[in-house]
């Protein structure tokens, strides 16, 4: 079986994580998200809680310093630990689904990478966040803004392309236009076609 890595980036409240879970279940692949840090902490025998505090966190410019490429930006180090983990997994030939973590740009050199960005309509996202987190409308709006701003800052620090820019992804979909199952089905169809093409390309190359 040829390696394929499904990278799913998402707006907060767009059901991106749920879609990633269903795709991972469909292909029987491991899903990597925040749990990467648990594996990193286990392998290095360190406490995981401080690592989670800096997960997908933007890099602050104030009260930090960089010397000869080494910096006091903890969020940068935590990001690098996750990038190293993902590269190691990709290098080992493992197929997996990964949510966020700049994976579409960190793993772009792997031919089996399929990158997807999931966005949603504002009202749908607000409704989704209100229900999932038991928040009022204004609280949900604040949470969406805050989370997306952080994700954008985090992504744009580590990648050349901007977060959500369609040129950076193989496929960008609006999850509000279809039901969750329809979105998953559409993506599975796309991934199957892409996998077939990747497989054929490898076969042709070998011949």
């Amino acid at each position: 079986m040829e390696q394929f890595i499904i990278s799913i980036s998402r707006e907060f409240g767009s059901l991106g994580h749920e879609i990633a879970e269903q795709i991972a279940r469909h292909y029987n692949l491991t899903l990597y998200d925040r749990n990467i840090l648990n594996e990193v902490a286990n392998s290095r025998n360190v406490d995981v809680a401080p690592l989670h505090e800096y997960d997908e966190e933007r890099i602050s410019r104030i009260f930090h310093r960089t010397i000869r490429g080494m910096s006091t930006h903890i969020s940068d180090h935590v990001a690098q630990l996750q990038f190293d983990f993902l590269k190691e997994k990709a290098e080992s030939g493992e197929s997996f689904v990964v949510v966020g973590r700049c994976s579409e740009c960190i793993l772009k050199e792997y031919k089996g990478l399929i990158s997807i960005f999931i966005r949603g309509d504002k009202e749908n996202k607000i409704r989704q966040v209100m229900e999932a987190h038991h928040l009022t409308r204004s609280e949900a709006i604040y949470m969406i803004r805050k989370k997306d701003w952080r994700r954008k800052e985090y992504h744009n620090t580590h990648c050349d392309y901007k977060w959500g820019d369609s040129r950076n992804y193989d496929l960008t979909i609006n999850s509000s236009r279809l039901s969750l199952d329809e979105c998953v089905q559409l993506l599975i169809d796309y991934i199957d076609r892409r996998y077939k093409k990747i497989y054929e390309d490898v076969k042709n190359k070998m011949e």
Partner: protein, 451 residues
Amino acid sequence: MLAQILAITIFLVMFILVIIDKWERYIITLICAAITLISVFGIGLHSFQAIIDTLNVTSIFELQFWYSAGESSEITSGINWSTIIFIAGMMIMVEGMAHVGFFRWLCMRIARLVKYKVVPIFITFMILSSFLAMFIDSITVILFLAAVTIELSQLLKFNPIPMILAEVFCANLGGSATMCGDPPNIIIGTSLGYSFTDFVTNTGLIAGICLIFVVLYFYLVFRKELSKNKEQQIDLSDLPSPESAIKSKSGFAISTCIFLLAIVLLVTHAMTGLSVAFIGTFIAILTLIAAGKSALMLLKKVDYKTLLFFVGLFVVVGGLERTGILTLMSNMIGKISGGNFYVMLAIIIWISAIASAFIDNIPFAATMIPVINNLAATQGISLSVLAWALAMGTDIGGSATPIGASANVVGIATAAKNGHIIKWGRYCKVMVPATMIVLVLTTILVYIRYL
């Protein structure tokens, strides 16, 4: 007046940009230096001679730059090429030592000597950190010590953060003991004409006394955390042998000899008349010859960005100096202290320390040298005592916060790369009291000895 406004504006913009840390520091200082040369010296002062004097290139071709024949070196202003050439030379020597595995061997050797017991490793690594930082830049010292500490922590099952914090503090303290230990000291020494021995017998003595209290302090603070896994059985055969760190036996022997020669030359440079620029160049040439085919690789590893940062910085500070801003600053310190030497010294030590805790201590020291020079001249007080106060304040103050000194950044980064997170709170909780202890001790010792 225009020149003064321009000089101070450029200086403040440079400082803010360095703090923001968005662009490389050397790019900021070089651009600010170019603007200083054009706007302050050209447009403001209409003085081509000021540009020539600040660039100070001609000084390199004078005999006194390399050999002072027993006379005290001339007090220089503008770009301090002695500092830059010396640091470049030491960088090459240190790269040569690292290349053959000297530092890793030394750390592993000491760990074995104390039978891989955590608390003895903790204490000996603190002393080792101080000792190495007396002769080698603290970045390299922590780079290797922290890496070995993390490696040992995984094998011996202890938390490496306390040890890294203690090593960082001791590296900064050790750096204050000698002329070549910390960049502010090199700048102070070469700018004001002090020798290696002058530093050792003044700041070195203070740092030595403080080290005893610091080791005791860190031991008391961390003893419980380090003794957690005392009962755990460790298979010592799993531990790497110190000799495995050596990549080339002949290279290792030569590097060790060059290092020892550098120490001898530095210790005796007041007697031999050889300047630090000469020593740096000589040691670099020896290292490159010994490295053979690896010479080019060593040259590539030199941190040119830091050297260019210094070049730009000296020009911008030269702008402040030539427009009289620094004279105004020294007059202000004189006024505030009311001519009282006690108050003046306290101001120099504590303001330097507080400033160095938040901003880079190198530009701060470079700025303060003309200030204390003028202060000594106008107030009729000893320049050397002010110089020692400035050196201790800037070197020690940097330990208080994660961004205060290069060693802190390297320690935090090395730990974080391995998943050990040192947050601002965790860092300051331990390091601020240690800094306060050393600053209080320094103030008392300076008062007792010099007043």
